[in-house]
Amino acid sequence: MEAVASVEKTKFSRRWDMKRKEFLMLLRQPGLLLAVLIVFAILFLFCVYPLIRLFISCLTDESGNINFNNIRYIFTKTDYFRAFWNSIKLGAFVGVFATIVGYIYAFAIKRTAIPGKKFFNMMAMFPILSPPFVISLAVILLFGRSGIITKNILGIEGNNIYGFTWLAIVQILSLFPLSYLNISGMLESLDSSIENASRSLGASRLKVFLTVTVPLSLPAILSSLLIVFAKSLCDLGNPQVLAGDYNVLSVSAYLQIVGLYNLKTGSLIALTILLPCMLAYIIQNYWVSKRSYVTITGKATGQVELITEPHIVIPLFIILVLLTAFTILMYGTVIYVSFVKTWGVNWTLTLDSYKFILKRGANAIKDTLFLSAISTPVTAQLGMLISYLLIRKNFIGKKLMSISTILPFAVPGIALGIGYIVSFNTKPLLLTGTAFIIITAMVFRTLSIGVETGSNSLRQVDPSIEEAATVLGASNVRVFFNISLPIMKSALFSGLVNTFVRSMTSISAVIFLVSVNWNLLTVSILSEIESQRMSAACAYCVALMVLVVLAIAVLELLVKQIFGRRRKIYE
């Protein structure tokens, strides 16, 4: 017994000794130490602290004493439990169906010989790139009380679309692309020779699909389920527009704050969304992703033999066509209505709505562009720095740093937004009402994308290139600026597009942060929908989409201009 104990102790002390040595090594590299400390300080202030404050503020009264009145209040006075179950039901339903649609989409594009793959792929990107509630807006316009299809074509009066059904449909349509991306990535890296092996042993296509393809892509299916579930729970834009009587948590939190000026109960409700969301992310990150069967060998997996049998290809093709046709119909409607004089009353085509938004929304357009244009490069630089530290350096608290960067992305935007209000409304951190608070919200909400892109591009760079610079005498700071950053930059630029688009179209995190001085397009769209000025809302949507497309084009052009020559060199 004693001998065992002493062995344990020496092992422990040896590990402790290593930690101490690592720490001493860190102290000798002031640049690295400084970078780690600064990053930790920033992450704590903008990612962790707001959530802690949110948590504290829910459990205390105005004078700061602990008090559970808020908890009692939401459980007794509000419709909390119904909203909770509604949210979970919606999330589960949308998760399952978005994953099924996403799987069909991915399988059709990656494993069969359907025509028009590029087009379908692009159409799947649309809901990701567009403002969050374009689809719900289009659904109201097409199928609502005075909808173009329901009233004008079918002659149904007062069709009620508010509630579970259409909300679920809209969420499935806008979230299945996430599932598609997830699963198609998996199918791509799944060595198709395994499927061929099963087929050559005599299995039918269906048998191969059910016994090989599906089981092997199970991790992607699970992770898609969880991500979509979490996204549906956190979604504010669509339920806000479409939920009607079907009360969900994100909307109740929003209404508590905006309608009843009850910040604390609103925070508490937001906090209860946070828990299942975080849980889903944790399961996804630490459990599902470890179960992946896909081994990345760096070798090109052999030529995929695409399925050509018409009885498989044709039905899949029809499903995809219907799906995209529906999406096109949605976006087409929004564009069409933006040119209509008064929706539902006067169908003459004019540019009135655009004149209207240019007059009333000029500031919102300018602000959106300005704030996104500032936050995007900040996210990119910070993301590169953090990914460099995470991938290439060893220091105490690395896991903590990695989790902190994911936190603002994993929590519901509404919780982050409320956290920012309660944290930054007093001196010395009086930021509410400023552009700074919106920029930081955008930066840290999208930071994980920047870190992810940075990490991916860094993983493709042979670490010995950096080591070569180190042994030549370059400090960590120099290696980062002279070697890593220039090599990463070109790849990272594509990540910039993603961040920029997310910043432009974000709503839930920033809805409480806008002010008279700084307004955003997404918030304007929501308020136009709420005041039933549909043409103006549509015009805003179109303007936002045009801006996004323009921004992507400009960024692409910039990448080609600046990095075109170099990019060739790396490849």
Binding site: K11, R14, R15, D17, M18, K21, E22, L24, M25, R28, Q29, D462, S464, I465, E467, A468, A469, T470, V471, L472, G473, A474, S475, N476, R478, N482, I483, P486, I487, R566, I569, Y570
Partner: protein, 367 residues
């Protein structure tokens, strides 16, 4: 330059890593290793993959911190000095040229970090580039060069800063066989001309034997044998070294009559002979006799009768698989004078006694 070369010493260095999947368990990558490299020498660490040779190299470079033990470059203990302050040069398996800099900037990078005068940088870079015969390519980007040229740039970059020690991490393994042979000669020539203390890591034994002053054979994180290429090939300390370097037959001996002063008197296939003996034979109970395949000769007055069970032609030599007294033995015939032997024949063979070596056969169980 060779006058100010310094030695490198490693004293009782160990490095452990947490075991994969079980973090409370520690695995030794390097266990209590001591190495002494004299100034200007080129020493090779040779061993199968996973034997800890790269771990040692990376500890000297400073990318890994030893769990215990000391590392000296010259007189200075460096195990707590960050890699960028150790003044070592390194050549990587993947060359690791900076892809966004041209050849000149790659080589000048280390000098610029030393805040050297611009003109001096220019002189030094152009000198070393012409020494490496790549002066014409100074404005090219790395991806525009061939593998051999990239290799030269990497070497130029590593030596131009006059580091106190040069570390080679399997630098030739990405080249094709012909070029590899040529480049190892070049590497050795330049290393000797610059007179720089070097440590070379490889798993290619012919490379190790061709270029080093001293070879260190490693296995399981420990040193198996240190010596010149010739010592290691002709006087392996144990079965592992004998088997790892070159090819070897291990033959059961009939009787060991006497072992003393590094020699043994044995009976092999019924004939008494005097051969060298490894040190580990002293207290051993079972023995084996190492016979290199090229040290068996086919001769009509040979002492042993052998049955030819297989024959293969390799150009430089003919390989025969023999069976002598029930033991399988490989023979390499470089003279190729006996062309009429075929499978199933019985032939007379003999061995060169001085090249045979008695080794304790239970030494495999040492680890």
């Amino acid at each position: 330059m060779s006058s100010n070369a310094v030695g490198v010493k490693i004293k009782n260095v160990s490095k452990t890593f947490p075991a994969y999947g079980n973090k409370s368990k520690e695995i030794y990558a390097v266990k209590n290793v001591s190495i002494d490299i004299e100034p200007g020498q080129l020493v090779t660490l040779l061993g199968p993959s996973g034997c800890g040779k790269t771990t040692i190299l990376r500890m000297i470079a400073g990318f890994l911190i030893p769990t215990s033990g000391e590392i000296y470059i010259g007189d200075k203990e460096v195990s707590k000095v960050p890699p960028n302050k150790r003044n070592v040069g390194m050549m990587f398996q993947s060359y690791a040229l900076f892809p966004h800099m041209n050849v000149y900037d790659n080589v000048a990078y280390g000098l610029k970090l030393k805040h050297m005068d611009k003109n001096e940088i220019k002189d030094r870079v152009e000198n070393i580039l012409s020494l490496m015969q790549i002066g014409d390519y100074k404005n090219n980007m790395p991806n525009e060069l061939s593998g051999g040229q990239q290799q030269r740039v990497a070497l130029a970059r590593a030596v131009v800063t006059e580091p106190s020690v040069l570390l080679f991490d399997e630098p030739l393994s990405n080249l094709d066989a012909k070029l590899r042979e040529y480049m190892r000669g070049e590497l050795r020539k330049i290393q000797q001309r610059v007179g720089i203390t070097s440590l070379y890591v490889t798993h290619d034994q012919s490379e190790a034997m061709a270029i080093s002053d001293k070879v260190i054979i490693m296995r399981h994180g420990m040193i198996e044998q240190v010596g010149t290429a010739m010592e290691i090939y002709s006087k392996p300390r144990n079965v592992f070294v004998a088997d790892f370097i070159g090819k070897a037959n291990f033959v059961k001996v009939d009787e060991v009559k006497d072992i003393s002063n590094g020699y043994a008197n044995i009976v092999l296939f019924g004939h008494e002979m005097n051969i060298t003996a490894a040190e580990n034979c002293k207290d051993a109970e079972s023995f084996t006799c190492m016979i290199r395949p090229e040290n068996i000769v086919i001769t009509p007055d040979g002492r042993f009768t052998a049955l030819v069970t297989a024959k293969a032609y390799f150009g430089q030599y003919v390989q025969y698989m023999l069976n002598i007294n029930g033991q399988d033995i490989e023979l390499m015939d470089f003279s190729q004078t006996n062309t009429n032997i075929s499978e199933g024949d019985k032939i007379r063979v003999d061995v060169m006694e001085s090249s045979l070596r008695l080794i304790a056969s239970d030494s495999k169980k040492e680890c």
